[in-house]
């Protein structure tokens, strides 16, 4: 498999790129949903993200990639070993795991190791996709076509941050914190509200309509397909710059201040839009803070709130059957109302 298309070479689609960068800076924002037209590079962009992420440190020999610095969020094995002494660590690429639509439950949550069971008659746990995605990203293309029972399972784990498997008398629990990224086309069907709500940010992608942009997309794509290695090399420095930006933002994010005035603005915005629950408000502030960190700012201002309002809130609006305007437009309107133009 050739190297993925470089993230920085993706033309336009700024909202989608920003949302993914935010998730990379602050995984706590809670997942990104990318919905939109066919052929707009949704999955290309998500797959490109993997190459952009700074490496992470993980406990040596841990199958779940436990964080050596997070003592209270470890798998049983690491906890046990941690008690006995210092844990070694190594650097690993941040996982971006594909959840293919045909996956069966046992492969998602993990099950007994079939090979060991057959050849040696031994019972051993073989981690599944959720374990592989720990501390990284779990990507589901065509998320609206995912089987209901898998959706339920994902919601469960995403909510608790822990995966519990009971099978063949084997009882395993391990941490499974991941950023859920879903993409799909709304014409294929709506997403179940419960799942919709799990995503922190929701991005709408449209096919670019300007000829110049379209030509640029085709040109780069064509160049990539005719010589992937050379193309990736050409964009390497730009990707590198983005990587540095993410790394710095991660270090800097804890120093970004959010004033009471900004918190109030966020709350007023959510009230104006009638979003359900506090999750919208929380996501709005967190995402704005991540953007500020990316920009190297010390404080969240209205500028950042404006930038993330649409992706943070558009999927939380109460449905109004008689309002035809898109949810993005409604967020815009509320922004004007609350923050002024």
């Amino acid at each position: 498999m050739a190297a993925p298309f470089p993230f920085s070479a993706i033309v336009g689609q700024d909202e989608m790129k920003l949302a993914l960068m935010i998730a990379a800076v602050d995984p706590g924002v809670g997942g990104v949903l990318v919905f939109g037209d066919r052929g707009t590079g949704k999955s290309t962009t998500v797959r490109a993200l993997a190459a952009l992420l700074p490496k992470m440190r993980a406990v040596t020999g841990c199958r779940y990639g436990c964080d050596p610095d997070a003592a209270d969020d470890r798998c049983d094995e690491c906890r046990e070993r941690g008690r006995q002494g210092e844990l070694g660590s190594r650097t690993l690429p941040v996982p971006v795991v594909d959840l293919p639509l045909g996956a069966t439950e046992d492969r998602v949550v993990g099950a007994l190791d079939l090979e060991l069971a057959l050849t040696q008659g031994e019972k051993a746990f073989e981690p599944g996709l959720l374990a592989r995605a720990h501390r990284g990203f779990l990507y589901i293309d065509e998320v609206n076509l995912l089987e209901d029972h898998l959706v339920d399972l994902l919601l469960d784990v995403a909510a608790s941050g822990e995966n519990v498997v009971e099978r063949e008398g084997l009882s395993v629990r391990h941490p499974a914190r991941f950023v859920l990224i879903g993409s799909g086309n709304p014409e294929e069907g709506e997403l179940r509200p419960q799942l919709l709500d799990r995503f922190g940010l929701s991005v709408e992608v449209r096919t670019p309509e300007e000829l110049a942009t379209r030509i640029e997309v085709i040109r780069r794509r064509d160049e990539y397909e005719r010589g992937p290695a050379a193309f990736v090399e050409k964009w390497k420095r730009r990707d590198g710059r983005l990587r540095t930006k993410i790394r710095k933002a991660r270090e800097h994010i804890h120093d970004v201040a959010v004033s009471d005035a900004m918190l109030e603005q966020a709350a007023r915005l959510c009230i104006a839009l009638g979003t359900d629950g506090l999750r919208g408000e929380l996501t709005l502030v967190r995402a704005a803070r991540a953007v500020a960190a990316l920009e190297g700012a010390d404080e969240v201002t209205e500028k950042q709130l404006r930038e993330v309002a649409a992706p943070a809130l558009r999927h939380r609006l109460r449905r109004n059957p008689l309002d035809d305007s898109g949810s993005g437009v409604r967020v815009e309107r509320a922004l004007e109302e609350v923050l002024g133009t």
């Binding site: 498999m1 037209d37 066919r38 052929g39 707009t40 999955s43 594909d98 959840l99 293919p100 639509l101 045909g102 996956a103 069966t104 046992d106 492969r107 998602v108 099950a111 007994l112 079939l114 090979e115 069971a117 057959l118 050849t119 008659g121 031994e122 019972k123 073989e126 599944g128 996709l129 293309d141 065509e142 076509l145 089987e147 009971e166 099978r167 063949e168 086309n185 709304p186 014409e187 294929e188 069907g189 709506e190 997403l191 179940r192 509200p193 096919t207 309509e209 000829l211 379209r214 030509i215 997309v217 085709i218 040109r219 794509r221 064509d222 005719r226 449905r319 059957p321 008689l322 035809d324």
Partner: protein, 601 residues
């Protein structure tokens, strides 16, 4: 030789050059000698030994993706993976039969393979990645524009052919250059063919002018231009190649007529010619390519190849088809619900779940050595021989059969848009439709909307479960005019039959005061109109669909009640129907309809 056949073979040549690169071909044709001939030519053009696999309509996920080969696994005592059709077809062609009826989940697996060139297997305790660089031939036997393979698939296939108008006699000719030798040579030359940047620009421009939104189309067209150059033995793309690519890839995807300065004059000439069945419009473009600057040439070439039917539709729609109109945004291929089992999933035996014995044994089989060892340890060696013959099945092995939800209902709203109250009623119906759709994900229901007024009935919203499409479809709310009730009942009948064919349970909901005054022929006259309407109502009753008549007249009159009785419909006077009441009533009726439909099945 007809242009359509020559185009079809040219597409076959290009596809055979690089099956995975072009994604595939959508072949709209009835089963028959023409299609067989096209397939024969295609196979002859593919390099020898390349796989050519057929995917049946109801292929199981396990067969398509692969999984655990149980026999080999048990025989060899170690897990053995079985390759699925996608991996088996690596480097070759996968033939989707009756692609218009293929399940959406199957399509999703195919498109994933097209996008990534591989199959990611995470099934039955096996995790593997297998190469699956395939090209797809989608055999599309859809009867009308509503019945098409899923848009997600068609978007990825470079060529969309329509062989229906081609006579068998025409297929005896094969255009020059369409030989395995030439295709082989072109395949080798392809990587070195260069394309000037202006061709990418021209093809993007043409796609935009034709209303082809997806960027994949432009990219595929650029590839086609290169391949055409390679086929002609050139090492650089020429104007002719770009024009040919636009014709083969872009024309069939057009959703609007390009706005050119000459359009005004061309229109009247184009139409009669395009409608002539014996002389396809493409013929006059056979000789060469149009003159003029490159972008115009490319666009004109595509325009000349616009299918006649599409051209008519475009002209009728004033030059642009709304995306979202049936057949263009693509019949959303939802699951075909026939109460068919669709595989098994782990689960507990309760709530009337049905145990899938084979799958349960399959799940249990690999674990037998472990379990036996365990049991023996537990019981001592005393019963060893007696126990070993027994299959040990545990609770975690239980697999229950998943069925397609047989209760899927298609609610067809037939709304009286005549007279003064029209706008009001339509708005209510619209509200109800959206309320029903709002929880459609859970209920898996679909909704359609027919409005009738003036001379006839119009399908405003084809059956859908997508709010996005519904909103687009509902954007237009015509109102006023006569009451052509008969025509409305007729079109609801057609729609209901189509829904039943798909295995859904149709529910027809009329919102009317029942006072027909336009007959079937579109002529006014109360008596005649009434007779026609009652006759249509009787045929609805004979068909046995669940029907609900909601009387919207401010004061109760006998008309609507009589209509309901003739249809054997439930009658519901609702002079002040608001969206919420309406959707509640329909939901109740829908549950009833699904219940009876289920019992009858």
């Amino acid at each position: 030789m007809s242009a359509a056949w020559s185009d079809a073979l040219r597409a076959a040549c290009l596809f055979a050059l690089d099956p995975a690169g072009f994604g595939g071909v959508n072949v709209r044709a009835h089963a028959g000698p023409v299609r067989d001939e096209w397939l024969r030519v295609l196979r002859s053009l593919l390099p020898e030994g390349r796989p050519f696999r057929r995917v049946p309509v109801h292929v199981t996920e396990a067969r398509l993706l692969g999984g655990l080969d149980l026999a080999a696994t048990l025989g060899q005592g170690r897990p053995v993976a079985e390759r699925g059709l996608l991996a088996e077809a690596d480097g070759g062609v996968l033939l989707l039969t009756s692609a218009e009826r293929t399940e959406r989940s199957t399509i999703a697996h195919v498109t994933a393979a097209l996008d990534t060139g591989r199959v990611v297997l995470e099934r039955d305790g096996i995790a593997s990645r297998q190469a699956a660089r395939v090209g797809i031939v989608a055999l599309d036997e859809g009867l009308d524009e509503d019945e098409q393979p899923a848009a997600a698939l068609r978007d990825r296939l470079a060529f969309h052919l329509d062989l229906r108008a081609i006579g068998y006699r025409e297929t005896r000719e094969v255009p020059a250059g369409c030989t395995p030798g030439r295709v082989d040579a072109a395949r080798r030359a392809l990587p070195d063919v260069v394309a000037d940047e202006r061709y990418a620009e021209a093809l993007c421009g043409a796609a935009l002018a034709l209303g082809v939104d997806s960027l994949r189309a432009s990219l595929l067209a650029l590839r086609a231009a290169r391949a055409l150059a390679a086929l002609a033995g050139r090492d650089a793309v020429t104007d002719e190649d770009a024009a040919g690519a636009a014709r083969l890839v872009l024309a069939s995807r057009a959703t609007r007529l390009p706005q050119t300065e000459t359009e005004e004059e061309e229109r009247p000439e184009d139409r009669p010619e395009d409608r002539e069945p014996d002389s396809p419009p493409e013929e006059r473009q056979e000789e060469g390519i149009p003159d003029g600057p490159l972008p115009d040439q490319v666009l004109e070439a595509a325009r000349a190849a616009l299918p006649a039917a599409l051209l008519d539709a475009l002209l009728a729609a004033g030059g642009a088809l709304r995306s979202g109109t049936a057949g263009k945004a693509g019949a959303v291929q939802t699951s075909r619900l026939r109460g068919r089992p669709t595989g098994a999933r782990p689960g507990e035996l309760r709530d009337g779940a049905r145990l899938n014995v084979i799958e349960t044994l399959r799940a249990a089989a690999p674990w037998q050595p472990v379990r036996r060892a365990e049991t023996q340890r537990g019981r001592g060696a005393v019963h060893r021989s007696a126990r070993s013959a027994r299959v040990e099945v545990r609770k975690s092995d239980f697999r229950i059969t998943r069925f397609r939800q047989r209760t899927e209902t298609t609610s067809i709203f037939v709304v009286d848009a005549s007279g003064s109250a029209a706008m009001h009623r339509l708005a209510e119906a619209k509200g109800a439709v959206e309320l029903l759709l709002a929880d459609c994900y859970v209920r898996r229901d679909r909704v359609a909307l027919i409005a009738f007024r003036g001379p006839g009935a119009e399908l405003l919203l084809p059956p859908t479960r997508s709010l996005v499409r519904a909103k687009r479809g509902l954007a237009q709310l015509p109102g006023g005019g006569g009451t052509p009730l008969a025509a409305a009942i007729d079109s609801s009948l057609t729609l209901a039959h189509a829904a039943r064919r798909r295995g859904e349970t149709p529910l027809v909901v009329f919102l009317t005061d029942g006072r027909a005054n336009v007959g079937r022929d579109g002529v006014g006259g109360r008596t005649r109109a009434r007779e026609d309407a009652l006759q249509a109502a009787r045929s609805l009753r004979v068909a046995g669909f669940s029907t609900l008549v909601i009387d919207t007249s401010p004061r109760a009159r006998p008309d609507a009640r009589e209509l309901a009785e003739t249809m054997a419909a439930r009658y519901l006077p609702l002079p002040q129907a608001d969206a919420a009441t309406l959707s509640r009533a329909v939901r109740q009726e829908g549950e009833l309809a699904a219940g009876t439909g289920h019992a009858a099945a």
